[in-house]
Amino acid sequence: MRVVVQEEPFDFGREAQEFASGHSNMGAIVTFTGVVRDADKGGMDRMVIEHYPGMTQKALEKIAEEAVSRWDLGDVLVIHRHGELRQGDMIMMVATASRHRVNAFEAAEYLMDYLKSRAPFWKKEYTAGGAEWVAAKNEDEDALSRW
C-alpha cells in the first residue's frame, strides 16, 4: 500500500507501470486518474486545492486500509495533489491490484467515492468572473451509501 500527498505533478505512465510490474501474480490492475476540467460555468484559469496537512495522509491511509480489508487486494496506490493546477493537469490517481478484476474495479470505485467526500481537500476555481469554492455534490455523499 502506498499513499502519497504531494504538490508536484506525477508521471502517470511511470506510476502505473511500476505499480503493475510489482505484482506478477495479480490478474487485474485497475487505474483511475482524475483530471482538472473546466469550471462548470467555463472560463477557468486555474484551480487551487487546499488541504489539511496534519490530517490528509492519515485520512487517505485509513481509506486505503479499509479497501484492503474489504476486498482481496494485492496492493493499493493513492496519489493526490494539492496546490495550483490547470485544466488538463492530473489531480490524483488510484490503482488497485487483485487476482480478480471485480475486486480491483470495486475497490477502485470505493476508493474514489471515499476520496471525494472523506479526504480533507477543498477546491477553489479561479475564473475571469472571480474565485469560487467548488461545492460538494449530494450525489457524492449518496455514493457512499452503496458500500
Partner: protein, 81 residues
C-alpha cells in the same frame, strides 16, 4: 486548544489557525462560544449543516467531546478526487 479553519470557513474567520481558551465540553459548545465572540464567527458558523468538524484530525460530529483534545478543525464538506 488549537482551532483550525479551512477553505471558505478560513476566509470568513480571517485566520487559518488560532489558540482558543475554552471550557466547552463539546464541539457544539465551542461553536456557541465562538459565535458569541464576533460577527465573523457568526458568518462562518451560521449554517452548521454546511460544516464538517475534525477533532484531533479525525472526522467526527458536533456532539463530540472535547476532553483532552488538542486540535479542532472546521471546514466545508470535502471535495477531493
Amino acid at each position: 486548544m488549537d482551532v483550525l479553519y479551512f477553505a471558505w470557513v478560513r476566509e470568513r474567520i480571517g485566520v487559518p489557525k488560532e489558540a482558543v481558551e475554552t471550557n466547552a465540553k463539546t464541539v457544539s459548545e465551542l461553536v456557541e462560544e465562538l459565535r458569541g465572540r464576533e460577527e465573523r464567527y457568526e458568518a462562518a458558523f451560521a449554517d452548521l449543516s454546511a460544516l464538517r468538524v475534525a477533532v484531533d484530525q479525525e472526522l467526527t460530529d458536533f456532539d463530540a467531546s472535547l476532553e483532552g483534545v488538542r486540535e479542532v478543525a472546521f471546514f466545508p464538506p470535502m471535495t477531493g478526487g
